[in-house]
Structure formats: structure tokens, C-alpha cells
């Protein structure tokens, strides 16, 4: 049982780490989900008892309820964070028209060049125009796709 659980944790964590090295943001997020599930499984295995009742009936041998409570909390937290990351990925897509990390780092380099010219990052670039992947000038207030909604 211990072997099976350790293998489960290892495979989940490994697959998650592999996905996190991908260029695609969505795969990266799935990798994060896998890693957090590996963690949940690890917490469960920290209080591992086989063959014992979860909590009830009292009096007989019961397994440790504390790890289950901790796992439940961890699941809720990772659920919230996953939702947050997905919404952020959507905003990244809206402002860059791409979920490819190489595309994003190219934008980062352009930005760094601009910083070097000015000597200071324009911290008040709210609404400042930028070029998307097709070279069209856009502003944050009017990201692609927003026109259709309005």
C-alpha cells in the first residue's frame, strides 16, 4: 500500500513537473493541478492506516481524521488558486493573443529594451498602446475580442 501510494505521488508529481516545463500556459496550469493533487495524496499518505474505518463507528480502530481534514482544506485552496490562475491566463491571452510562453518572453524582451532606453519602466503605462502578435497597435482598454462583446 505504501509502495502504491508513493508511486502514485511520484507519477503525479513527475507528470506535473513535465507539464510545467511546456511552452503552453494551459499545459502549465494542468501541471500545477497535478502537482497540487500529488501533494494532497501525500498528505493523505502521511496518516496512512489500512483497513480501519474513516471516523465512525467510534470505539473500534479508526484511521487518522486529521489528515483528511488537512487534505480537504488543501483541495479547497488549490481549487481557488486554479480558478485564479485560469482567469489570469485568459487575461494574458486577451492582451497577447497567445498562450505560448516564447511569445510572452519575446514581449518581455521588447519591454526590457524600451526600459533601457528610458532608464525607468513606465510604471504608469495604464492604457498605453502596445503591439500584439500581428503588429496591430492595441490598448488594454480595447483588447481583441472585447469589440465583439460590446
Amino acid at each position: 500500500m505504501i509502495l502504491a501510494l508513493s508511486l502514485g505521488v511520484a507519477v503525479l508529481f513527475g507528470a506535473g513537473s513535465y507539464l510545467m516545463l511546456k511552452h503552453d500556459l494551459i499545459r502549465l496550469i494542468i501541471g500545477m493541478v497535478l502537482i497540487s493533487n500529488a501533494t494532497n495524496l501525500f498528505i493523505m499518505s502521511a496518516g496512512l492506516t489500512t483497513g480501519a474505518a474513516p471516523i465512525y463507528p467510534l470505539g473500534g480502530e479508526t484511521s487518522d481524521p486529521l489528515v483528511q481534514a488537512m487534505t480537504l482544506t488543501a483541495i479547497v485552496i488549490s481549487f481557488a488558486v486554479t480558478a485564479l490562475v485560469l482567469s489570469l491566463a485568459w487575461r494574458v491571452y486577451v492582451s497577447h493573443l497567445s498562450v505560448d510562453i516564447r511569445e510572452l518572453s519575446r514581449a518581455e524582451e521588447l519591454q526590457a529594451d524600451r526600459d533601457d532606453e528610458v532608464g525607468q519602466p513606465d510604471s504608469d503605462e495604464l492604457g498605453a498602446p502596445y503591439k500584439d502578435s500581428e503588429g496591430v497597435r492595441r490598448t488594454v482598454d480595447q483588447p481583441p475580442g472585447k469589440e465583439a462583446q460590446r
Binding site: M20, L25, L28, M32, I35, S36, A38, T39, F42, I43, A46, G47, L66, V67, M70, T73, A74, I77, A80, V81, L84, V85, L88, A89, R91, V92, S95, H96, L104, A107, E108, Q111, D115, D116, V118, G119, Q120, P121, S123, E125, L126, A128, Y130, V140
Partner: protein
């Protein structure tokens, strides 16, 4: 009384979250809430200072059932520092005009998470509060909502989520090996269990907090995030959120796992020294102000690592004091560098002196205790390292000052008055600590006594 700061922040944050934070009235309300939480923390701190560490279980539950709080001087120092930085950043942003309705609520939630982390007596609640602070930071990192801030927020989330998962794994492993979740119990049990698993767990804890702190091999996310965000958010991240990393290392390293800390001291020393040199050299080669300060942060946490590696009472003393002064310094500098005017320039100079360790600014004190720890340890290479690091930081700080306030100063107009007053107030605070360090030294001394002095029986 003990849960008062947490209670104020909790209910305050929930109420403010429902209001529109871009309105001036609501922003002022959140400032009042944060200020009253800070005041109640200070009152609580006076009580803890007089009567020693306090413990309680929230809601009148039995010991071991409810959320347990355990407040010692170390927690009070960190909570007061973090809340003060958050307050300064919130007032600063309010004076400049808040641009997102959720901003004040996020600052309050982060205050809640940080205070909880510093006050909790339970390892799992430590993780939960830590996540509250981190999630607010994830959203804050994208505050401003430019493409660049979304990119940096994404990096921030991915890296720090991985760190959180590692921390959670190490808590589960600690629970498995010691059978306890309360910090006092873990501390009592650790010497009784086999050494090898605990060493592994300590390594994971170290990586988790090293990631938060932006220590050398785990620093790669930090420059992108600090340069991308707005001044107030950068001040919050470097002055308040980074405290989790150093607090965690002091609490879990020096307090709970002292044997393993000593075992890992050479690694900490090497990584700390690399951090100092790498951060210093990179800062000198950078042009944009935020980037210089970001790399400077990487260098400064190196000192904390070196102090922990030296260990003993003097080492932990230096680590705590350096963290406090560094957090305040960084918050001041990130705010000051985004503004113009001679008052801000003066405040920046004081902050820069403090980073370089020139008297009478408070940073001098930090360097002195580092020297004291190194000399007591009779390790002259560390003395040389601290001297070299100080020289490097003086160099890049002066470069930055010249570039920001001498050359480009003519074209841009002076910033608004209130933000300038805040920054000058923070600088005066730095000077005051430098000129009259006795209260801070005594507090730190008591915190060290609480960690190192007493072997609490189970």
C-alpha cells in the same frame, strides 16, 4: 485581546471587499481598519513584552481542537513591521489614486494572512494563513492590469505555488514523523525522532521559503515581478510579503529544527554569500531603478542567510534585526524611486545609506550586528564578505541616485505632497532607529531569548 488584530483585519477585509475601493471614502475606511489593527498589535506587543509569550485557542475551544494562537516577541516584531509597511503602501496608493476597486481589500487580506502566519501556533494553520497572504499577493501582482503585469503575475503565481506545495508536503512529512502539528509539540518531538528524514524535510522547508525570499538559486522570478508591478505593490511584496520567507526560516530553522539548521549551515553560508555577490554585481549592471532595487533585494536576503548560517544567539539576533531593517528600507526605496522632488530625493538618500550601512541610518545597525556575529564566530571571511557587500551596495545605490535624482530630474514635475510626506516619514523612522536603537535591540533580544533560550517541555 489576543485575537483582536486578526479579528479587525478579518471583518474589515470582508466588509471592504464589498465596497468600491476606488472611492476615496472607502479607501480611507480601509486605512482606518489597517491602522487600528496595527495599534492593537502594538498594544498586544507591549503586553507580550511584559508578560511573555501568550497562547490561546480561538473561540473557546479545547486545546488541540480550535485554531490556536501563540504570540511571542518574534511574531509581534514581524507583524508590526508588515502592517506598518502595508499601511504606508496603502496610504501612498490612496494619495496617488487607487485604480482597482479590489485593491484596499486585498491589502487588508494580505495583512490578515501575514498577521496570522506570525501569530499562529499550528503548522497547518501557518500554511492556511500563508496561502491567504499569497493569494492576495497573486492578485496584487497584476494590479495595474497592463500586459506586462499579467505576465509577471503569471510567473509569480507559478513559482510561488510550487513553493507552497513544497511547504505543504514538508508539513505533512513533519506531521508523519513527529505526530504533532502544533509548533511547540514539533519542537519537543524533533530531537526524539530519527535524524535522516528530518534533514530531508528541512531541505524542503528551506527550498520553499528560499523561493518566497528570492534567495540566489531561487531568485529567477523576482526581478521580472518587481520591475513589472507598480511602486506600492513592489513595496508591499518586498517589505511585507518577503517577511514570510525570513520569518519561516527563523521559525522553522532556528526555532523548530536547530539541529538540522546547524547541519545545513555550510549550504546556507555558500548560498547566502553567492546571493550577496550576485545581487550586488547584477544591481551595478542594471539601469532601470526597479531592476536595481530588485537585484538589491536578492543581495540583501543573502545577509539574512549568512546570519542564520553563523547561528547561535548572535546569528539569530542579526538575522531578525537585518530582516526588519531591510524590509523597511526596501519599502521606502521602492516608493521613493517612483517620485520626484528634493524631499523625496533626501528620503531616498537616507534609504540608500541605510542599505549601504552608513551611519546614522538604521542599516548601519544591521551591518554592526552582522559584524558582531561574524567576529564572535571568528570567521574573517564573513567579515570580508559583509564589507565587500556593503561596498557594492554603496556603489549601486549611488549610481541609482545619480541617475534618478540628478540627471533626469529637470524634465519631470514634482510629485504630489502627501506621498512625499509618507516617504519622508519612513525615512525619519529609519534615522530614528539608527540614532536610538535601544528599543528595537531589546525587543530583538527578547525574541532571540524566546527562540533559543527556553527548551519547552512537551
Amino acid at each position: 485581546m489576543m485575537e483582536l488584530p486578526l479579528g479587525i483585519l478579518w471583518f474589515g477585509a470582508v466588509i471592504v471587499a464589498m465596497l468600491d475601493g476606488t472611492r476615496h471614502r472607502n479607501a480611507v475606511l480601509s486605512i482606518v481598519i489597517l491602522a487600528s489593527a496595527l495599534v492593537s498589535t502594538l498594544v498586544l506587543g507591549a503586553d507580550v513584552y511584559r508578560n511573555g509569550t501568550q497562547e490561546m485557542v480561538v473561540g473557546g475551544w479545547e486545546q488541540g481542537v480550535g485554531i490556536s494562537l501563540r504570540i511571542d516577541t518574534l511574531g509581534i516584531i514581524f507583524a508590526a513591521l508588515s502592517l506598518a509597511v502595508l499601511l504606508a503602501a496603502l496610504v501612498f496608493e490612496t494619495a496617488n489614486g487607487i485604480k482597482a476597486r479590489i485593491f484596499p481589500a486585498l491589502v487588508l487580506f494580505m495583512g490578515l494572512g501575514l498577521t496570522g502566519v506570525f501569530f499562529t501556533g499550528d503548522a497547518f494553520n501557518f500554511y492556511v494563513f500563508f496561502e491567504i497572504a499569497m493569494i492576495s499577493a497573486y492578485v496584487l501582482a497584476s494590479y495595474g492590469e497592463t500586459p506586462r503585469q499579467f505576465r509577471s503575475a503569471f510567473i509569480f503565481i507559478v513559482v510561488n505555488l510550487l513553493g507552497s506545495m513544497l511547504f505543504l508536503i514538508s508539513i505533512a512529512a513533519l506531521y508523519h514523523t513527529t505526530g504533532r502539528l502544533d509548533l511547540v509539540g514539533i519542537k519537543a518531538q524533533v530531537p526524539l525522532v530519527a535524524e535522516s528524514p528530518v534533514v530531508l524535510i528541512s531541505a524542503v522547508v528551506f527550498v520553499a521559503f528560499g523561493l518566497k525570499l528570492g534567495l540566489f538559486p531561487f531568485h529567477f522570478w523576482l526581478p521580472a515581478v518587481y520591475t513589472g508591478t507598480r511602486a506600492s505593490v513592489a513595496a508591499i511584496l518586498s517589505g511585507a510579503l518577503a517577511n514570510i520567507g525570513s520569518y519561516g526560516l527563523i521559525r522553522f530553522g532556528a526555532d523548530l529544527l536547530p539541529r538540522e539548521l546547524e547541519f545545513g549551515a555550510p549550504v546556507l553560508l555558500v548560498l547566502g554569500a553567492t546571493s550577496i555577490l550576485y545581487g550586488g554585481v547584477q544591481s551595478i549592471s542594471r539601469h532601470s531603478a526597479n531592476e536595481v532595487l530588485a537585484y538589491s533585494s536578492i543581495g540583501q536576503v543573502g545577509y539574512i542567510m549568512v546570519a542564520l548560517a553563523i547561528g547561535g544567539d548572535a546569528g539569530v539576533f542579526a538575522a531578525i534585526l537585518y530582516t526588519v531593517i531591510n524590509g523597511w528600507n526596501k519599502a521606502l526605496l521602492f516608493l521613493a524611486v517612483s517620485m520626484r522632488g528634493w524631499l523625496v530625493g533626501t528620503a531616498f538618500v537616507i534609504g540608500a545609506f541605510s542599505v549601504a550601512g552608513v551611519p546614522p541610518a538604521a542599516g548601519f545597525l544591521g551591518k554592526v550586528v552582522m559584524f558582531r556575529a561574524a567576529i564572535e564566530d571568528a570567521s574573517w571571511s564573513i567579515v570580508a564578505l559583509v564589507l565587500l557587500g556593503g561596498g557594492l551596495s554603496f556603489l549601486y545605490m549611488f549610481q541609482l541616485y545619480r541617475r534618478r535624482f540628478w540627471i533626469a530630474g529637470e524634465e519631470e514635475e514634482e510629485s504630489a505632497h502627501l506621498p512625499q510626506v509618507i516617504v519622508v516619514g519612513m525615512a525619519v523612522g529609519l534615522l530614528a532607529i539608527g540614532l536610538w536603537p535601544q528599543p528595537l535591540l531589546e525587543l530583538t533580544d527578547q525574541a532571540v531569548l524566546g527562540i533559543m533560550g527556553t527548551d519547552t517541555a512537551p
